[in-house]
Amino acid sequence: MDLENQKRVKELAEAHGPENILVILGAAEGEAAGIAAETVTAGDPTYAGPLTGVQLGLSVYHVCEDAIKSELDPTVYDEQIGMMEMVLDVDDIVKEMTAIREQFSKY
């Protein structure tokens, strides 16, 4: 995850409390989604950014997961994300995200 984004996530978690933060990802494939999810839960796995060694344990989802999709206006979802959903390997993304959440999410 981009170092600047790591910094922003860290600052937001400190300001509002990690239990009040939900991170929504838009990564294009499972591995990238998994790395980003790991970064905001268990810490930066690449040891490069401000979240290195910081276990925020945030609640984290990909925008194509049902938990998020069901919260959105279906028309808006179709307009903005429908095409990408057709393109992405959603099953793989869900698998990665679920694994990371089960292991590292605290909220």
Binding site: E4, A28, E29, E31, A32, I35, T46, Y47, A48, E79, Q80, I81, G82, M83, M84, M86, V87
Partner: protein, 509 residues
């Protein structure tokens, strides 16, 4: 009349030592984690020049392999060297690092670059054999300096070292004592960009067959910024490159837009020629030292060689319609506007579907699309997937959503209208531009008639806006020279002027 793409040239510069000393992944690691295993093992993961030359994506970049031939190879490509590969290509060449360092020094106009005299003596004969290195460039290469001075400047004067095969062979010193914009680091990036662009422009003159003196405008479209502390992106790379490439009648300017800059520059060039302002406009960009080894950690972790070991450069010549070369159709310009939005769907709609619909065309009417042409060998191990493939999937999905393609036709669409990527991950280099040379050839050969070049840029990196950006255009088979319809002929204009003068004279009497 539309302008034409008269030629395109492509160069790569093998720069393994710059991966270690100038790539930002490595320079950041040296600050954050100086004793890391990554830094220790990285040198063992660098490729030799022959491997870089034989690498199939690189051979595709310089024009010796077609995109189709590359697509027929099984991925990954790094273990499938091309037999009898040469550094010279139909579109350009792959330059070794030692020769580049001499060109780099020749491109320095302010006495900042100094090379070890033994290194110069050992390397100059090779550059003297280079068909594009003329007396102007060769005459600028200095004899070199003593090694003690090189070591002193690197140790004590804040100079950046220049290395070859792990050995210090020169330095670039800062151009100002306190101005960060003229630091040795910034001068290194800018001069490397300039020198690789000069090489691309020299090749463009060669492959197009144009007289260098006929190029009257140059647009440079890299991602670097040159200027001092009072005008940090003042420019003008374009003119400095034109000077070194021997274009006496050219002026020019720089166009910026992150990875979308080449497409913005090409549309600008096509407009300048179509309007009659200039006759021959060269669009050019050199490479980026910062991006060398950008995904090196992933490559090393996966036991691979570091594949981001080349600087990329390209140039394209946009000229008046010659009735032969492919036209740049300015009636079909995709644009990502401020109001478009940043979702991939909105972006692709604005760049592909909207401009085609405007002229009554469908997505499938374009034979080939070229968007972000990054080499998947580089991006897949780094978790970024196959970027060109993702783009073609999105374009195909849009065709499905707009009802012109059945869903089961998506895979065939990707095969028929897309290509495998071959460009080094040098930011502005992969964005559409790598296909120009092949597209021109395929159109001339009658293999395709229309190609869409899509440039996309991530503006958030500059921290001024969260806007995305992009611009696209269509390259199409030349329809032959036509007199503009509805206009008056030269004779008619002469008659009208004569009549107006007679009327005016009559009104005076």
């Amino acid at each position: 009349m539309n302008s034409v793409l008269k030629a395109a040239s492509y160069v790569l510069v093998h720069a393994p030592d710059m991966v270690l000393h100038n790539g930002t992944t490595q320079t950041t690691e040296k600050v954050v984690n100086p004793g890391s295993d990554y830094l220790k093992t990285l040198p063992q993961h660098l490729r030799g020049f022959d491997q870089v030359v034989a690498y199939p994506p690189n051979q595709t970049y310089i024009g010796n392999l077609s995109p189709k031939q590359l697509g027929e190879l099984e991925q990954p490509f790094f273990d499938k060297p091309v037999e009898n590969a040469t550094r010279q290509g139909k579109f350009g060449e792959i330059l070794p690092q030692d020769e580049f360092l001499l060109l780099f020094q020749a491109c320095d106009m302010f006495d900042l670059v100094h090379l070890d005299k033994d290194f110069v003596a050992a390397t100059k004969p090779a550059l003297e054999q280079h068909p594009l290195m003329d007396a102007f460039i060769l005459g600028r290469i200095r004899e070199g300096t003593a090694m003690e001075q090189v070591e002193r400047f690197v140790k004590e004067e804040g100079a950046e070292g220049l290395y070859y095969n792990g050995r210090l062979v020169g330095y670039i010193k800062r151009a100002h004592d306190v101005d960060a914009n003229l630091s040795a680091h910034v001068m290194m990036e800018n001069l490397a960009s300039k020198a690789s662009a000069v090489l691309a422009l020299k090749h463009l003159v060669k492959v197009s067959g144009i007289e260098a003196s006929q190029i009257d405008y140059v647009i440079e479209c890299s991602e670097e910024a040159c200027g001092d502390m009072n005008q940090r992106g003042g420019g003008n790379f374009a003119k400095s490159i034109a000077e070194m490439a021997g274009l006496p009648n050219a002026t020019g300017c720089d166009v910026r837009g992150f990875c979308a800059a080449p497409s913005h520059a090409l549309v600008t060039a096509a407009s300048l020629v179509k309007s009659g302002t200039f006759k021959n406009v060269a669009v050019v960009a050199g490479g980026s030292t910062a991006k060398l080894g950008m995904n090196g950690k992933d490559h090393v972790r996966k036991g691979m060689q570091v594949l981001e070991d080349v600087l990329g450069g390209f140039a394209a010549l946009i000229s008046e319609n010659d009735g032969q070369n492919p036209e740049i159709d300015l009636d079909i310009i995709g644009r990502h506007t401020v109001g478009t939005g940043a979702s991939p769907q909105a972006v692709i709609t604005s760049l592909v579907l909207t401009p085609l619909e405007k002229v009554g065309m469908k997505i499938q009417d374009i034979d080939k699309y070229a968007a972000e042409m990054q080499n998947p060998d580089i991006t897949k191990p780094a978790g970024a997937g196959d970027v060109p493939q993702a783009n073609f999937k999105m374009i195909g999905a849009l065709a499905v959503k707009s009802g012109e393609l059945p869903r089961e036709g998506l895979n065939d669409f990707i095969l028929n209208h897309g290509m495998v990527g071959w460009a080094p991950t040098q930011g502005h280099i992969p964005s559409g531009a790598p296909y120009l040379g092949h597209a021109r050839q395929e159109i001339l050969d009658g293999d395709i008639t229309k190609a869409m070049i899509v440039g996309k840029g991530s503006l958030f990196l500059g921290r001024l806006t969260n806007q995305f950006d992009g611009i696209s255009f269509v390259l199409k088979k030349n329809e032959g020279k036509k007199e503009p319809s509805g206009g008056a002929s030269k004779e008619e204009v002469r008659g009208l002027i004569a009549q107006a003068l007679r009327d005016f004279a009559a009104s005076l009497s």
